[in-house]
């Protein structure tokens, strides 16, 4: 798959720690020092209480499959059909991703099934956090 032809992210000063994390094999979230709210996507203040002191934390990488579509049309860098999914992290925030290492079928992709993060290096600067089922299908 010519993955480098994907629409790749361009990190900003406020998101650089996230993309630095994926390069190092870490999924990074942020936690408010005041109200302890854990959130994603990145911003240097708490979206719940507007406090400016926040701490970058490492997520466990464990999640469940919250919702998805299976796209059947061609998109640069992808081989259809492929899932575009939203997972709910153990720490609560949700994020968009792809479910990989599984058949791209409704039967294999069951809502609420446990998934875990895997890191896919796309370019020198960008590594994407993808997710795979924890249990392999029999």
């Amino acid at each position: 798959m010519p993955e480098a032809s994907r629409a790749l992210p361009e990190p900003t000063p406020e998101t650089a720690h996230f993309w630095e994390g994926t390069r190092q094999g870490e999924l990074r979230l942020q936690r408010c020092d005041a109200c302890l709210h854990v959130y994603f996507p990145p911003r240097p203040f708490c979206p719940k209480c507007a406090h400016r002191r926040v701490t970058v934390i490492r997520a466990s990488g464990r999640a469940t499959l919250y919702s998805y579509v299976i796209h059947h049309r061609p998109v640069p860098g992808f081989e259809p059909p492929y899932s575009i999914a939203v997972v709910e992290l153990e720490e609560r925030p949700r994020m968009m991703t792809n479910i990989v290492n599984a058949p791209q079928t409704p039967e294999a992709l069951r809502l609420d099934m446990p998934v875990r993060v895997v890191f896919r290096r796309i370019s020198d600067t960008i590594t994407l956090p993808l997710f795979e089922p924890v249990e392999k299908l029999a």
């Binding site: 992210p9 796209h71 998109v75 575009i84 994020m95």
Partner: protein, 379 residues
């Protein structure tokens, strides 16, 4: 705004709808504007307020030769025109301007002179959604649907039925793109776009435009057409990232916008005789019916199955055929407003007898924004 203090005194769509390769996006705005000015018996010099999305109000005012003293370029996607109506009503009440032109035009199919919202690779979308292969609305707007379906026990047939019932309305409309009756089986046999959405559960992609003229209700009788009164308005936004919606089974923007509009109008959903819910995809009328309070959470699919929204039902919904069958240029909200105006004027192709209150509800982006307008045939 006091309910009924502002009226829609002019409304029209582009001369043609569908495939219009000989007109640019800007000219689609202008064609709709000229038809609407004629409908209202006005010349551009009579207009002192301009609101639009997709193009800059600067371009629209310049092209039509208008010297406005009030402009609104609010652009939050397909419901922008609902927000323009709301803002225009407030501006007229406040005396900032007297006669407002709201325009829409979009070369969605032919893509002539089209402007697109810029979402660079450093935007939230560019960093946290696009890298996973979202390719426009069919892959993003649709993502909450499976969660909704699991929560409320819906099947693909329920999504298909939304398209089938709206096609029933479209069969009465000579300007609808698709007018052949449709079955659930045919919808489920259409090609898979993004599971669980098949082609006939996704909106059309067409060219067209529409425009409105608003003025104070006291002036409404100076215009040739039957006025349609603005009774209540609402607006809200939630998130540019569909993946970050608070809840995949209900839209916060819909709830905030709808509640505000009904409260302002001082009516309950029970008093509504005609309803337009922006249907870019088949799950949107389900969310709209529930989030606006027409039915309880999880009840919308059954409400449609029981034919309450179909011809002859007690809550006629998307009577032009909707974005699924009538037309969808990209920012469909204007066409929902146009159909509400036609129904209240009593001139709709699939006219519902005796409509007194119509609601036009719009969505912008992927559940990102919302606008709701309650319209009435009387103040």
């Amino acid at each position: 705004m006091k309910p009924g203090s502002v009226a829609i005194v002019g409304a029209a769509e582009t001369t043609e709808l569908g495939k219009i390769p000989n007109l640019s996006q800007l000219q689609l705005h202008a064609d709709a504007a000229l038809n609407t000015l004629a409908d209202a018996g006005l010349k551009p010099v009579d207009i002192d307020g301009v609101a639009t999305a997709g193009e800059s109000p600067v371009a629209i005012a310049y092209m039509l030769g208008i010297a406005p003293r009030w402009v609104d370029g609010t652009a939050v996607g397909g419901c922008s025109f609902m927000l323009h109506v709301r803002h225009a009503a407030a501006a007229i009440c406040e005396g900032l301007c007297k006669t407002v032109l709201v325009t829409h035009g979009e070369s969605g199919y032919s893509r002539v002179g089209r402007t697109l919202p810029a979402r660079g690779p450093s935007s939230y979308n560019g960093q946290f959604e696009a890298p996973f292969g979202t390719a426009g609305p069919p892959t993003a707007f649709t993502i909450p649907a499976l969660r909704y379906m699991k929560r409320f026990g819906l099947r693909e047939e329920d999504l298909a039925l939304v398209a089938v019932v709206q096609r029933e309305w479209a069969t009465h409309n000579p300007r609808a793109s698709h007018r052949t009756p449709l079955t659930v089986d045919e919808v489920l046999a259409s090609s898979m776009i993004a599971y669980p959405f098949r082609k006939l559960m996704c909106c059309l992609v067409t060219d067209g435009g529409g425009a409105l003229v608003l003025a104070a209700a006291e002036r409404a009788r100076d215009f040739p057409r039957k006025p349609v009164y603005v009774l209540g308005t609402g607006e809200s936004v939630e998130t540019p990232l569909v993946s970050q919606m608070e809840d995949f089974t209900t839209s916060r923007a819909f709830r905030v916008s709808g509640k505000q509009a009904f409260e302002e109008a001082g009516i309950s959903p029970r008093e509504v005789g005609h309803l337009m819910i922006y249907d870019a995809f088949a799950h949107l009328p389900l969310f709209g019916l529930e989030d606006l309070g027409f039915v309880e959470r999880g009840e919308a699919a059954r409400f449609i199955r029981d034919r309450h929204t179909a011809p002859g039902g007690r809550l006629p919904l998307n009577t032009n055929g909707g974005g699924l069958s009538y037309m969808h240029s990209g920012m469909y909200g204007m066409y929902a407003l146009q159909e509400s105006v036609r129904q209240l004027r009593g001139i709709a192709p699939a006219q519902v007898p005796g409509v007194r209150i119509s609601v036009a509800h719009g969505v912008g982006g992927m559940f990102a924004a919302s606008g709701t307008i309650v319209l009435g045939s009387e103040r």
